[in-house]
Each structure stands twice: as C-alpha cells, then as structure tokens.
C-alpha cells in the first residue's frame, strides 16, 4: 500500500491552476531568489553577449547593439527545482532563434555561460524553435541583478537553473558538457513535467 503521512491534509491552494503545476511543485506569488554565490555587480560598458564554439565565426554584441535586436515579450510559467512554480511571469528580450540567425553549425548541444563562472548545458534543439530567450526586462522593468540582470537566459520549459542568470553567451558544442548544477547532483535535462530534478531521475 502507498505511504500515507498520518494526519496530513495539505493546503491544496494550487487546485485552481493545478493543470499548470508540475508534479512536486507548489505555486508562489513572490519571486524567490536562488544562486550559488554573491550577486555580480553589472557593468554595462563592459558587457557583451557572445555565440561561440562550433561556429565559423563567433558573434558578439555590445549592450547597446544587443538592445537594438528585435525583441519579444513572453508570458510564461516558471518552475524552480526547489519546488516553487510562478505562473504568468512576463519577460522581454531577444529570442535565441534571432541570436542564431545566419549561424552555420554542426553542434547539437549548447552551454550557456555567465558572469561569476556559472554554466548550464542543454541540447541545442531545446533552446531553438521559439523555446528560449535572452531577457532583460521582467514585468516591464529592467531585470534586477538578484534575478539575473542585466540579462538572463529564459528557458521556461526546463527547471529554472537552466535559465542562467547574468548570462554572457552561449557556446555551441558537438558533445554534451554538463554545466555547474548538472555536475553537482542535478539532472542533465531538467524537465519539470517528468520531475527530472536530480541525477538518475
């Protein structure tokens, strides 16, 4: 017989939107912060965004150039592996498809890299096809450094550690290279609907 916690009923506050809440998650209304070290201090004059790795020629944008790229505003649900889900979050930024326009590559994998040394890996087809953005506004305001500003990756269909804060570029690779959390016990793929939280899930 399945395990039952004696005397537990639960608050069931998520029932109205339960079809949007992956297994093991609960809805929050605030925006918790999680990161492994101090929040970097942004320096827009020296900021750049780079696509490199398995490409003929790396592409790099300054902050001013990046801000001139076509933008999209998306409203998505986000899911953190620490169990919280936040519904209907609104972001503005540049689609990864736009950043990869004209890039000829044999790569099948990508590693996003950030200020502070953070990395996270994904199959390339998980961040193309209108599934990922590099965002610099949250809820109509410049993205706060605590939440990854000046710019972060947004890959809403995977757990939020894939949405690298303080992102500075994407390296395209022929082989899969586990990133920071992926090397520290967290799942290599991270699909919240399959509850791929940890190694072996």
């Amino acid at each position: 017989m399945a395990f039952i916690s004696r005397g537990f009923r639960g608050k069931r506050r998520d029932t109205a939107s339960s079809s949007r809440v992956p297994p093991g998650q609960h809805v929050v209304n605030d925006f918790p912060v999680l990161s492994a070290g101090p929040t970097p201090r942004p320096d827009l004059a020296r900021w750049s965004f780079t696509i490199n790795g398995e490409v003929d020629a790396p592409k790099t944008w300054s902050w001013d150039d990046f801000r001139k790229l076509p933008t999209e505003t998306v409203t998505v649900d986000i899911h953190c592996v620490t169990k919280w889900t936040k519904l209907d979050t609104s972001w503005k930024g540049v689609s990864v498809d736009t950043l990869l326009e004209g890039v000829d590559t044999a790569a099948e994998y990508a590693v996003a890299f950030s200020d502070g040394g953070y990395t996270t890996n994904m199959p390339l087809d998980e961040i193309t096809g209108h599934k990922a953005w590099v965002v610099y506004e949250y809820d109509g305001q410049p993205l706060h450094p605590e939440h990854g500003g000046p710019a972060r990756l947004l890959v809403p269909h995977l757990y939020l550690w894939k949405s690298a804060k303080w992102v500075r570029g994407i390296t395209l690779n022929k082989e899969d290279e586990p990133g920071f959390w992926e090397s520290n016990g967290y799942n290599n793929h991270g699909d919240p609907w399959k509850e791929e939280r940890y190694w072996g899930d």
Partner: protein
Amino acid sequence: MGRLIVPTKLSWQIGEVTDIVRETPRVATLTIDVPAWSGHLAGQHVDVRLTADDGYQAQRSYSIASPPEESRLAITVERLEDGEVSPYLVGELRPKDKVELRGPIGGFFVWRAGDPRRLLLVAGGSGIVPLMAMIRHRAAVGDQTPVRLLYSSRTFEDVIYRHELERLAGANQTLTVAHTLTRSQAPGWTGYARRLDGAMVEEVAWPASDHPQVFICGPTSFVEAAAGLLVDHGYEPGWIKTERFGATGG
C-alpha cells in the same frame, strides 16, 4: 557522448521519527531513523514528501543538521505560519511517525573536514542549520581549522542551538561565535544588537589576506547583504558559497 555522469537514482525512503526537540518557539529538530541512508556531506539537504489519504502530495527541501558521523538523520525545521509542510513537521508529527524523504541533495554548498582554508560561516535565522552540520562535522572529527560564525537572530529566544554553540566554542579555542540580535535584546546582552553591517564584518570576518572559505545561509535579503559586505571587505566572489530561502519555503 561527452563526459558521462553515472546516474544514481535518489529513491524515496521511509524513515521513523525517533526524537523531536523544540529548539525555539517556532523551530524543532526531528531525528529520523532512515534504515538505508547512504550517508551525506555537511551542508546537503533532503526532500521531504507528505502524502494525504486521498493521494494529495506536497514536497519541500530541508537542510540536514546532523553531521555525516551520526547514524541518524536530523533536520531542523522552522514553522512558517502560512506554510503547508512545516506546520505538519513542527506541530503534527510525533515520535514513531513515519516520514518519506530522499537525498542527500546538493554537491556545492558542502564543507569537508581537512580543507585547510579558514572558515567563515554567516547565518541568518534558520540558515544556521546547514552551517551547524559543518560545525558538528568539524567537532566530530577533531578538525582544528579556525572557524568564525556570525549568526544573526531576531531575539534571544530565536537563537537555534544556543547551548550547543556555547559549549562547542567554550571547549575549542578555534571556534568563535558572534551573535547579533536584530529585534530585541535582554538587559545585559553583550553581543551585537543590529543588522549585519560593514563594521561588524570588519570585526568578525577573517581579513581578505587569509583567503578564507565562506558559507552564507539565510533569507534572500540577508544573504544578499552579507555577500555584498564581504565582497566590499575584499573577498573574492569565488570564495563565497550561498544558500538562500524565501518566505515561501513552506
């Protein structure tokens, strides 16, 4: 295909609560006998899953308080008034009850005895829990690495592990504990009586020239402030490991 990570599935296990100790009015430590526990490192956490009789489930993560050297697992839980899981763990649960959990989780916010770097631990409220696992680990193996703990609580009654910290610091010159109480202080209080600030960091933290290792755990605003003060103090961001929790940990 690239570097292979050998997956070891973290299975759900059922443990039996053997002991519940009230640490403060809102905080309790649960000691849990988990028969197939694989061991853990100081600083790691576990996921706890509760299941109602109709199948409804809720999961949360809790830091492990016990050192790797102890056979029984201990977690210290703060009861959040609007929480879903913590009021059950601190309130409903009794010794001999069963609880479902899996872990240990997290390979970054961990400290291993034998690391030669001086250690600075900075705790806000129940953020002391994973840092206490480190302090207990160090005591259990007789590690002599110099450690300083800066621990911020709201009131004297809210200080978790107060007696044990006093005893450990009294017994070992290499552990120094500095408390600050941010909300109220009893007459005769000799510790700090304000929020963390640069002057406090200057007095308590190792000089940057020592290249210490730092672990900070607490609410987000506390961790942001503490990490910022330490960077201002000359610490490299790479020396500092943080663990944050919001008010919605539940």
